[in-house]
Structures are given as structure tokens and as C-alpha cells.
Amino acid sequence: MAGYIVNITNLYKEYIRDDMRIPVLYDINLDVPTGEFLALMGPSGSGKTTLLNLIAGIDRPTKGDLSVAGESVANLTEGQLAQWRANHIGFIFQFYNLIPVLTAFDNVELPLLLTSLSKRERREHVETALSIVGLADRMNHYPRQLSGGQEQRVAIARALVTDPSILLADEPTGDLDRQSAEAIMTLLGRLNSEFNKTIIMVTHDPRAAESAKVVRHLDKGELT
């Protein structure tokens, strides 16, 4: 469907733990146009992460249709799905999840190692991504030498570096002080307005949600 990057129809998701069915998402319908900046809000345990993971193709729906960046994710094999994620998804975690033994540069370069880019091309991409997030001067720093806000910006550069179709962020400011959180939100806002990146962000911080163009609420597994 032209114009939409995410189409979700009658999506149902349950987990099975110790022979117990745990329903998490009920009958989700959601269409996200290209270029959107969507904030998903909702209380803890409402299924926000689960929904984001499904869109990211790191989890599979139990029932329903899910199409992201023109691909019916449920039909792909594990290998195809990984390849698809590498091409289309930029994921930003609450706890940054940088590799502690790699420098900022090497962390951002990681997704590019899966491409056929030359060393020189990779260097250019990494430098561009790091300068977009304002950390070109911290390339050779290790995560432990950076503040939380800086780590999250490196993580954003890592999500950005492959020029993915969509950026998915799971509580990107959840672990940051107010000032750093604002800087991250400004950055995401710029990525959306200046670079036309489609962004879906999970948050339960109303202040963070203000930066988004659209806010949707999730409660007990249902979109309201």
C-alpha cells in the first residue's frame, strides 16, 4: 500500500509459558504512513514492547497480518528476516545496548559489517552518522567513557547508519535525566523532519511523546 510503511490488521499475540497462554495483544489495527513520527504510550505491561518487536521482525505474530516496508514479515524464514531487519529496521533500545569492548566508531560500524561496503565506504557512513548525532569527536571513545545520553546517541547513530526504512525506539529516554532526554527527543524530531525518517517510539513519558506528531495509547493489549 503506497504511502504506508506499516500495515497491521487484526493482529493477535500470545506467549506460551509453561503450558500457559499469556495473551498480550488483542486485535491490533494500525497503519503508519511513511514519514510519520508516532509515539506509542501506555502503562507498563500493556504490550508496547511486544508490538514494537513485532514491527521490528524480531518476534512473530500469533494471528493477523503484519506488513512492514512492503514485506509480509510472517512469511519470511529466519535468515530472510535477519537480512530484512538489516536492510529496513533501525532499532534503539532503552539501555542503549552498545558493545562495551568496541569504540563508538566500531559500534556504529557493526551493522555495516553485514553489507558489501568497502572499508572506506563504511568509514564515511559511520562518520556521517556520528556527526548527525553530534558525536564525531567521540568516535574513539568506549561506551564506559560516555554519558548515558551520549551512549544513546551512539546507539541512534548505529540504528541510522544503514539508512533504514524505519526507526523503532523502545523507551529511548527511559534511563536518562531530563536534559539528556530532551536532547534525544530533539535529535529524533530532527531525524523525522530533516531526514524524513519514519519513527515509531514507545514511551510512557508524556514529555517525550510531545515531540511526536501522533500519539496512540495501548492499554491491556488494545489500541485506544
Binding site: 524480531i58 558493545i99 551493522p111
Partner: protein, 388 residues
């Protein structure tokens, strides 16, 4: 390989743990190498044997000398082609335990008729026969001590401590067997030694010999000829036991059988220890990286990439340990010989080093299975929900 950097950095995440793992591997590999080389001493090949070579010792005690007069009697036996004798003199030389070398006193007139495995020139044999205090040495000994023809050396005997001989080096000899090429060895004239023990120990010893060697002809009747020889001395107080050298060598090995078995078992256990050491480290890695592997998968890393990362890390540690351990085998053996001079035949066999590498590759593969299986079997969402 683009992932190499991450592999190396991962391997040294816990620097102390990795260093201890590598040291553990290296020390065990070194011990394994030493034990295997010690075991080499007890292995001999039938190919190295001289056809028809018999050895005679006292029937009840290997230590007991035999009368010199036996030699002449044996020469009369049908099928006995040649007869010679020898004594073991020991290895000690001076006070420095590093200085030891092996010595035998041998029948200067007949040894070469049987010992075709001692290679020497006609000229050196002639000098050995004619010079009254002659000795022959191996090139390895000449090199180690910087001794040359004409040098006069004072040598003793480990078990008759008052015996001291001034021998003159008249030439060299070499062992035909490949594995003995580097042996540091000296042959001293048997009559000189007999006269010395006659004077220093007791007069009748001048007429005794350590052991007797025979050459049976035809070689395939060696056992029958051995029986004929032994029957000559039946019911005397100097009864003999004659047997083919391979049976003799087997009997020697048999004496050490329990030690050999223990060494063999411990060498296999060492391989187990090597595997456990690495397995232990790699299972810690498996647990610590659950979350990180899920992150890598989220970024688009596939199963094969995680296999490369984990296998690479396991192999990297295994190979550093292997190289270090292999490099320590040779110095380890040197140290071992200084501590235990009686095992001076232990030599460094390259083959033990050559085997370490493929063995460690297998160990590396096995140890990497734990994190590889863990990484590929954990779903991304479960991995992300796992916090270290």
C-alpha cells in the same frame, strides 16, 4: 575477516580470566607433551632390530654379572656366529647433574661383528682395538663437550664409585636408529673396565661381564639356538637366560608397564582437562552474551555470524594456549631431564608439537558448541529480556 576485531576483543573482555585460561591450557599442553615424549622412550620398533640378535643375562637376576669364560663356551655352540659382551657404566659425569652422558664398556674385539646398529669407520674400530684406553663417542656428545680425537677424559661408573678411568677418544660412532641420533653416548673398552673393577672392587670381577650378546645364524632359528646356549649352563650356579633382543626389550618395557599405563592414562586425562578448562570459560561466555547476541541479531546478524563469533573466540583462546604450550614442551623436557637424570633418553619429538595444533582445533570446536548452541537457540525477545 570483518568480525576478527570483535572476536579478539571479546576474547579479552575478562582479561584475567582469559589469561588464566590460556595459562591453564598451555601448562596442561606442555605436561601432555612431556608425558608423550617420556612414553616415546618406551616404544621401540621391530625394524630397528638386528636379525638373529640374542642377549644373555643371569637367569634369576638381571643385575648379576656372568663369567667371562661363558663367552668361549658359547662360541662352540652350533648356530652361534659371534659373541660379545658389555657393561652398563652409568651416566654421571662430574658433580654437575647437567653434565651427564650415557656410557657402556664393550668388548673391543668383537662388538662390531654384532652391533651393526652402531655405525663407525674401519679406522675407528682399528684404533679402538689397538689403543689400550680407547673410547668412542657419538657426534652429539663430541659437540656438547667439545671433545675431539686425542682428548683424554676421566670417567667413572655410577655403581662402583671408586672406579675411575682415563680414556682417550679415538673416534666416533653413531646409532643407526633415527630416534637415537641425538643421544650423548660413550663406548669404553671392556678389558679396561674389567681390569678396573678387578682392582677396585674384587679380583674375581676381572673375569666377569655385565651381559653377553650373540648373533644367531640363521636368524629364524634364533630361539632354538638360544635354548642350546642356555642348556650349556643348566644346573650350574651361573645359569643363563638367552632371548632375542626384542623379547628382552619387551621384558624391559614390561617392568615399567604400570608406570607406562599410568602415564598413558594421565596423558588422556590431560586432554580432558584441556577440554574442561576451555569449556568452562566458553560456558561463562555463553551466559554473559545472551543479551548481546540478541542485540546483534536485532541488528541483522544471522546464525552463521554468531557461530563465527563464538567459534572464533574459542579457537583464538585455544590456539594461543596451544602455541604457548607447544613452545613450552621443549624447555619443559630440558627441565624434566635436569630433575630426573635417569630419564636422560627422553628426547623432544617434533611430532608431539605437530599433534597439539589439530588436537586443539578439535577442543576449540567442542568448547564453542556451548555458546553457539546457546546463541542460536535463544530467541531474540527472550535474549533481550535477559539482563546480565
Amino acid at each position: 575477516m570483518k568480525l576478527l576485531k570483535l572476536i579478539v576483543k571479546n576474547a579479552f573482555r575478562h582479561r584475567l580470566r582469559t589469561i588464566l585460561t590460556i595459562l591453564g591450557l598451555a601448562i596442561t599442553i606442555m605436561s601432555f607433551g612431556i608425558v608423550r615424549n617420556v612414553l616415546e622412550v618406551f616404544s621401540f620398533s621391530e625394524d630397528d632390530l638386528i636379525p638373529g640378535h640374542l642377549i644373555t643375562r643371569h637367569k634369576t637376576s638381571m643385575m648379576q654379572f656372568l663369567p667371562y669364560s661363558h663367552l668361549d663356551k658359547m662360541r662352540q655352540v652350533e648356530g652361534v656366529e659371534a659373541v660379545t659382551y658389555g657393561f652398563w657404566m652409568g651416566v654421571r659425569y662430574g658433580d654437575d647433574p647437567e653434565e651427564f652422558f650415557a656410557r657402556m664398556a664393550i668388548d673391543q674385539d668383537n662388538f662390531y661383528k654384532i652391533r651393526s646398529d652402531w655405525i663407525t669407520s674401519e679406522e675407528d674400530i682399528e684404533d679402538f682395538k689397538t689403543v689400550k684406553n680407547a673410547a668412542l663417542i657419538t657426534p652429539a656428545l663430541a659437540l656438547k663437550k667439545d671433545w675431539e680425537e686425542g682428548d683424554v677424559i676421566t670417567v667413572g661408573c655410577d655403581y662402583f664409585e671408586t672406579v675411575s678411568l682415563d680414556v682417550e677418544i679415538v673416534g666416533q660412532f653413531e646409532f643407526a636408529q633415527e630416534q637415537n641420533r641425538q643421544a650423548e653416548f660413550m663406548l669404553v673398552r671392556g678389558d679396561l673396565f674389567r681390569r678396573a673393577i678387578g682392582q677396585e672392587v674384587s679380583p674375581e670381577m676381572e673375569h666377569q661381564v655385565g651381559w653377553i650378546e650373540l648373533l644367531a645364524d640363521p636368524p629364524d632359528e634364533a630361539t632354538e639356538i638360544a635354548t642350546r646356549v642356555d642348556s650349556l649352563f643348566m644346573n650350574s650356579d651361573m645359569e643363563t637366560k638367552t632371548e632375542p633382543v626384542n623379547a628382552y626389550a619387551n621384558a624391559q618395557v614390561e617392568r615399567f608397564r604400570t608406570i607406562i599405563t599410568a602415564l598413558q592414562v594421565s596423558s588422556y586425562l590431560m586432554i580432558g582437562v584441556i577440554l574442561l578448562v576451555l569449556l568452562n570459560t566458553m560456558s561463562m561466555v555463553a551466559r554473559e552474551r545472551i543479551n548481546e547476541n540478541a542485540v546483534l541479531k536485532t541488528l541483522g546478524f544471522r546464525g552463521k555470524h554468531l557461530v563465527i563469533l563464538n567459534f572464533g573466540e574459542s579457537m583464538f583462546v585455544a590456539l594461543i594456549g596451544a602455541v604457548l604450550g607447544a613452545a613450552l614442551i621443549w624447555p619443559g623436557i630440558k627441565l624434566f631431564k635436569t630433575l630426573m637424570p635417569f630419564l636422560q633418553q627422553v628426547k623432544f619429538e617434533w611430532i608431539t608439537v605437530v599433534w597439539v595444533i589439530p588436537a586443539m582445533i578439535i577442543v576449540g570446536i567442542l568448547a564453542s558448541l556451548v555458546p553457539v548452541i546457546k546463541a542460536t537457540n535463544t530467541s531474540i525477545v527472550d535474549g533481550l529480556r535477559t539482563l546480565e
